[in-house]
């Protein structure tokens, strides 16, 4: 018997829903892309050279999730207010929802999938989030972790209030904030040793 993963089931459902939308509103309701807006994009994702031809409207977030199947990076608000889509571009934490893929041309992109070591060992920040129980539903967690890694590297994780200030771009609706702060404090020591 063929098994189907949760993600494949979701993807199949979305495709069906998409067809439904098209028949409801007609073809013209879906903005059509003319050929000259197809943009070649060449970049590095988690150390791998990647080449794609994308609609100019595609964000780095949608590129990762829909074109590269890297679904660890989450889409929360899609308007720069929640931080769930936080990734690193050229080593700095940014919001992938507000970055056009075309504008990331030639850049180095790192996502939650690339954080663990080659041997599968978790990054100290991932380990700390588990040990400190720093999430409930987990939806904001990849963004929290990517942001937290950068926060430590920026030298902005010295006190609780500094962590709170420099992590304010990552919202957690489960309000796991105290444990997120605890996880960052745990990881900052181990990160400086690595």
């Amino acid at each position: 018997m063929t098994t189907i993963t949760r993600r494949e089931a979701i993807a199949g459902g979305v495709a069906l829903a998409g067809l439904g939308t098209q028949s409801l509103f007609g073809r013209d309701a879906v903005p059509r892309q003319d050929d000259n807006a197809a943009t070649p994009v060449k970049l590095t994702v988690n150390g791998k050279n990647t080449e794609l031809v994308l609609d100019s409207r595609v964000s780095v977030l949608d590129m990762l999730r829909d074109h590269l199947q890297l679904t660890g990076t989450k889409k929360g608000c899609d308007q720069g207010q929640c931080g769930a889509c936080t990734i690193h571009i050229d080593g700095e934490r940014v919001l992938s929802c507000l970055t056009l893929a075309a504008a990331a041309q030639g850049k180095r992109i790192d996502t939650i999938e690339g954080l663990a070591g080659g041997d599968g060992a978790l990054h100290p920040m991932q380990q700390a989030f588990i040990e400190q129980d720093a999430f409930q539903c987990g939806y904001c967690t990849p963004g929290q972790i990517m942001s937290a890694v950068a926060c430590v590297k920026e030298g902005r994780a010295n006190t609780d209030s500094e962590i709170q200030e420099y992590m304010s771009g990552n919202l957690c609706r489960c309000a796991a904030y105290p444990k997120i702060v605890a996880a960052i404090k745990q990881a900052r020591g181990r990160m400086s040793q690595t």
């Binding site: 100019s56 700095e92 934490r93 075309a102 942001s147 902005r156």
Partner: protein
Amino acid sequence: MRPFSYDTAGNLEQAVRLGALTGQGQADANTQFLAGGTTLVDLMRLDVLRPHRVVNIGGLHPSMGKIQVSADGLTLGALCKMSAVADHPEVVKLYPLVAQSLQMAASAQIRNMATVGGNLLQRTRCPYFRDTRWSSCNKRAPGSGCAAITAFNRNHAVLGVDQSCIAQYPGDFATALIALDAQLQLHGPQGPRRIALAELHRPPNGTPHIETTLHSAEIITEIFVPAGEWNRCSLYVKVRDRASYEFAIASAAVALSMQGDRVRAVRLALGGMAYRPWRAAEAEQLLIGKSLNEATAQAAAAEALKGAQTHGHNDYKPELARRTIVRALIEANALSQDRGAA
């Protein structure tokens, strides 16, 4: 998001050529320049900005990304990221107001993306501008009216407004800069020119969709803050609904130079109050030659809010602004004594 063609400018001349149709802030301008993208991509996805062409000028960074401190003043390349300026040691030390206004703005992620030039041009957060389900918005759809005047207007402007638009300029950085008489270096089809930041934003005046005095295709290339003894003793007080990652409901930028216990020079600007970063020049004049205490600070604050017009939900704003000004002036005075003692 509507389809658009995408170009990358290799140099300034090319950018100006490709950007021929950028207009003066109109939501339906044919072309938009892309730098950090934090406002542009957001508003394009909301269908508020609807360009047919996007021209990426981020690649001009090498020539437009420098931070220089000299005896004349502070020069910021317009493509510097907010974070680079906020954390620059000399800016932090010599121009604390500039650094603080950036540190208190947005989030760490957004500060890593947004450029300082783009920050000056960020759009209002007026919900009736941002939500296209509302048909009345003179800024987005010229001539359609202003929904905010009769709707929920708690965060709307009280200074310099008229019946055509009460949207508020949301920025902190520009509020700091206007206090310090910043100038902008521009480059456009007619070549370079220099303007005062105070000339950049246009009053609504019935046509709030025309936001700036920039010519079509013109790009801000540099921001200049002139030197002055008041820069070192300067600070930004920001009042907001949550402690971080939030726009101001009221803010005050103060730079102060004291002679003994008398004010020699003072610069005062307000954020969260007007369609633009708002300089309170008359309030400054009231303070020259006086000592700085609660009474003189309150008199200056009253002067700064003279002529404020409220629309119901924002009735609280003038009083909040006055108290914010008093707090900023008193703190600046204490800072001046602290600096003198050091």
